[in-house]
């Protein structure tokens, strides 16, 4: 019986890999095919280096994995976990080539007990708020149609504010955003959010957006905080909660008048598109113009009718006056001095035309005229 030799003399050395090449190939295989994932295990030997990085081993009954947590992530996790702590970690497997060692690079670490406590607190707060009617549909206020003044409670260094500004600038550039900065995660976020929401009531705004960009579930806990929810409920203007998490609902989402899935969506919900408003203004303008047109026509008709009546009234009055004038003429005629003269009387007048009524008014030798029916007759007193 002959055994096949593992390496025959015909070995082609050009097909032999270096150690580095093998490590690189394995690295590519591992890192290319396993997406970030959560794993569960128990911590042993956690070492927090002065650089801020943490190294520990995660194990269960059957296996163990070396874990590494870079400073950026370790900072968010709080204190290094004690041996035996049961945790969930989010990360991805990598190959540490220099040591030929496979490691799990951890981004998030959550003690399972803390998670359980968080869940219990969430349920407690939710029940308390529900009992006080803070989720009632009857409480929900409609948003104003196109507000000019909007409060935004969020972190100033997150994407949330940038997204809100971008959407608002595009849709409703008439607006002014009043940004009240608050941390939105970590210790101290909840009291800052409460202070910011309380401050909203001192601003003259028409609506309030509170929120943050997407994050892991434990980054959103400030938005499940009871005091934050109650402060949100106490905001006097309609509120929009935009806590960017696709799957989880935060309690502020339930308390707010409107829940938006992301800060951008919140801005879209709050601000009408200017194009719509321009159309509306245009339409109102033409309706206004037509409304006057109708009025003007009515007015014209009315004036025409009034004119006709006035004319008729004047005609009638004139006829009456003419008739009266005729009658008066006859009466006057009867009294006319000419009629008296016709009957043979004469009227003496001096050179100035004054009527001479008494003897004393006649002077011997002075001429005067006598007015008779058909004219004047020169005369002289003797």
């Amino acid at each position: 019986m002959s055994l096949p030799l593992p390496f025959s003399p015909a070995l082609d050395t050009r097909e032999v890999l270096s150690v580095g090449e093998l490590a690189a190939a394995v690295k590519a295989l591992i890192e290319g095919s396993i997406a970030p994932l959560w794993i569960r295990g128990e911590i042993t030997g956690c070492k927090a280096w002065s650089s801020g990085h943490w190294y520990f081993t995660l194990r269960d009954a059957t296996a163990q994995v070396r874990c590494c947590m870079w400073r950026t992530y370790a900072q968010r996790a709080g204190r290094p976990p004690a041996d035996g702590t049961s945790v969930y970690v989010l990360g991805r497997p990598v190959l540490y080539e220099q040591k030929g060692e496979f490691q799990f690079l951890v981004q998030r670490l959550l003690p399972t007990a803390a998670l359980g406590a968080q869940q219990r607190e969430f349920e407690r707060v939710k029940a308390a708020l529900a009992r006080d009617g803070l989720f009632d549909a009857a409480r929900k206020r409609p948003l104003p149609r196109c507000p000019d003044r909007v409060a935004v409670v969020t972190s100033t260094d997150g994407a949330a504010l940038r997204d809100i500004v971008t959407v608002t600038r595009k849709r409703w550039p008439c607006a002014t955003l009043f940004v009240i900065a608050s941390r939105v995660q970590g210790d101290g976020a909840a009291p800052e959010l409460v202070a910011a929401l309380t401050l909203v009531n001192r601003l003259e705004v028409e609506v309030c957006i509170v929120g943050r960009g997407g994050g892991a579930r434990e980054d959103l806990i400030a938005f499940n905080d009871e005091s934050v929810c109650r402060a949100l409920a106490a905001v006097r203007v309609p509120t929009v909660s935009a806590v960017g998490h696709e799957t989880d609902i935060s309690l502020t989402d339930l308390v707010a008048d409107l829940r938006a899935p992301t800060p951008s969506a919140a801005a879209e919900a709050v601000f009408a598109d200017t194009a719509d408003v321009r159309r509306r203004v245009h339409e109102l303008g033409s309706r206004l113009a037509r409304s006057l047109g109708r009025r003007a026509e009515l007015l014209e008709e009315r004036l025409a009718r009034a004119g006709d009546r006035l004319e008729a009234a004047v005609d009638q009055r004139l006829a009456r006056e003419r008739h009266r004038a005729g009658r008066l003429g006859a009466e006057l005629d009867a009294l006319s001095p000419l009629r008296v003269l016709e009957r043979g009387y004469a009227v003496p007048r001096d050179a100035a035309g004054r009527v001479l009524r008494r003897r004393a008014e006649f002077t011997a030798g002075r001429p005067f005229t006598l007015r008779v029916a058909d004219g004047d007759v020169p005369a002289r007193a003797e």
Partner: protein, 78 residues
Amino acid sequence: MSGPPAGQPSLADELERLEAIVRALEANDLDLDAALALFEEGVGRLRSARERLAAAQLRVRAVLQDADGTLRDTDIDA
């Protein structure tokens, strides 16, 4: 202590009022003086709305609270 001044009525309020004016005029049951006064108001609001839309430039203000509780707001670059 007061917040930043609100200034003029919001554009939304202005449009609501304009809408009400147009409806009232269209209903045609006002006396002439009232109708003309409303029309004049409507023209003013329409002009103001158009100007505001034309001049629109988003403002982003940071609201800050001083140690004594006074509120200030300043432009921020966003």
